[in-house]
């Protein structure tokens, strides 16, 4: 009898494990405002994630204000907000269950590509089960282990997105070095040729012979 119950709890834990692994990791183009909705099953779930603005094609580099990130609860009020950032992590507890809205707002006219990762994590507690069942501690530990591994995976995704952004910057630097240097050489030769032509013209007979 105990073995059957044990198997049932394990199976219940497995089902809970399967149903609450909620991860989404995508890149989206943000023109003005882009919203992503994600459903939170239980109140008190930890919503964690990160986002990085990847396609950051800025010229001077110091005065771009970044993008704004807001999380709206199902009731409509803002639960979490990050302003003027080019990439950050976030983590907070969901005050209630329901459909949460994650919005990226781009205040500038140039479209940006934002790479985000959202994870809804749940640790089973006494509230999830029916009244006559009790919580198997192994399920709690497995859920905590799963959450820890998910946080490592989320951190890796964040690093990967930042690495992509760094790669864009490096490629842009490489192109700029070659482009601007070759342009500089051509311009230099052109300017000195123009100087010589101008001086020749000053000394030509058709223009005021005795002027110089």
């Amino acid at each position: 009898m105990a073995k059957i119950w044990g198997k049932m709890w394990a199976l219940m834990g497995l089902l809970l494990f399967n149903s609450v692994c909620n991860v989404s990791s995508l890149s989206v183009n943000v023109n003005n405002i882009e919203c992503v909705y994600e459903y939170v099953l239980y109140e008190g779930d930890t919503i964690s994630g990160n986002f990085v603005v990847v396609d950051h094609d800025i010229f001077w580099g110091s005065d771009h204000p970044g993008i704004d990130f807001t999380v709206a609860s199902p009731a409509g009020n803002t639960v979490h907000e990050l302003k003027g950032t080019s990439g950050d992590k976030f983590e907070f507890k969901a005050p209630r269950s329901g459909m949460y809205k994650f919005c990226f707002h781009n205040p500038h006219s140039a479209p940006e590509t934002v790479s985000f990762h959202i994870h809804i994590g749940h640790i089973p507690t006494e509230h999830d089960l029916a009244k006559d069942e009790h919580l198997d501690p192994i399920n709690v530990k497995i859920a905590e282990l799963r959450e820890a591994l998910e946080s490592v995976t989320a951190e890796q995704k964040y690093l990967k997105a930042r690495d992509t952004r760094h790669r864009h910057t490096n490629e842009s630097t490489r192109k700029r070095v070659i482009g601007y240097t070759v342009g500089e050489y051509i311009l230099l030769t052109l300017v000195s040729a123009l100087q010589v032509i101008y001086i020749r013209q000053l000394f030509s007979k058709s223009v005021a012979y005795n002027r110089v």
Partner: protein
Amino acid sequence: MNKGMVFGGRAACFLPIILVLCLTRNSNILPVAEAIWLTIPSSGTKCVSEEIQSNVVVLGDYYVIDENNPDHIPTISARVTSPFGNNLHHNENATHGQFAFTTSESGNYLACFWKDGSHQKDSELTLGVDWKTGIAAKDWESVAKKEKIEGVELVLRRLQGIVETICGNLIYLRDREADMREVSEATNARVAWFSIMSLGVCIAVSVLQIWYLKRYFVKKKLI
């Protein structure tokens, strides 16, 4: 926004149904628990992308969500392209669809959705997208059946798969960092060389100028 509140109110009714369905594994009836929802504008396309390595299984599932008129659901078209431009999945005039492929090259995989011309209302569409790559796309039920494991052992096997994915990701990140370091060092060397060459070009050009002007003035008998 209003849309969020509408979803919130109706989702509260769905919550017990969703819990029951999740616990009984009937998630294909109302698969809201694992996907994200996007809004498709009335004109234009909405694209999502992800940078994926090669040899990774990708599973995708998309469905239109329209609570206003459930018997006349608007249709969308979808297209999934590989980084080299190959068309991996194309679907027109559908309310839901699925695609599955194994990546052959590493790069940016793009999935684009747009509204069909037949529904030209000025309303936005909500689309649920379930995009799974790598270990999340693995079919654990068939693994459990084939190897006859269940319960805690299956869960631990899944965790082991996740740990192996983490190791693989670390190696991938390390290789990318090595590539980028080479590009940085090459750029560093180039900056030094090009600056010295720029100085050399400057000196050479001014020497040429002076030599030419001196020859010119001598020719014109001014010196």
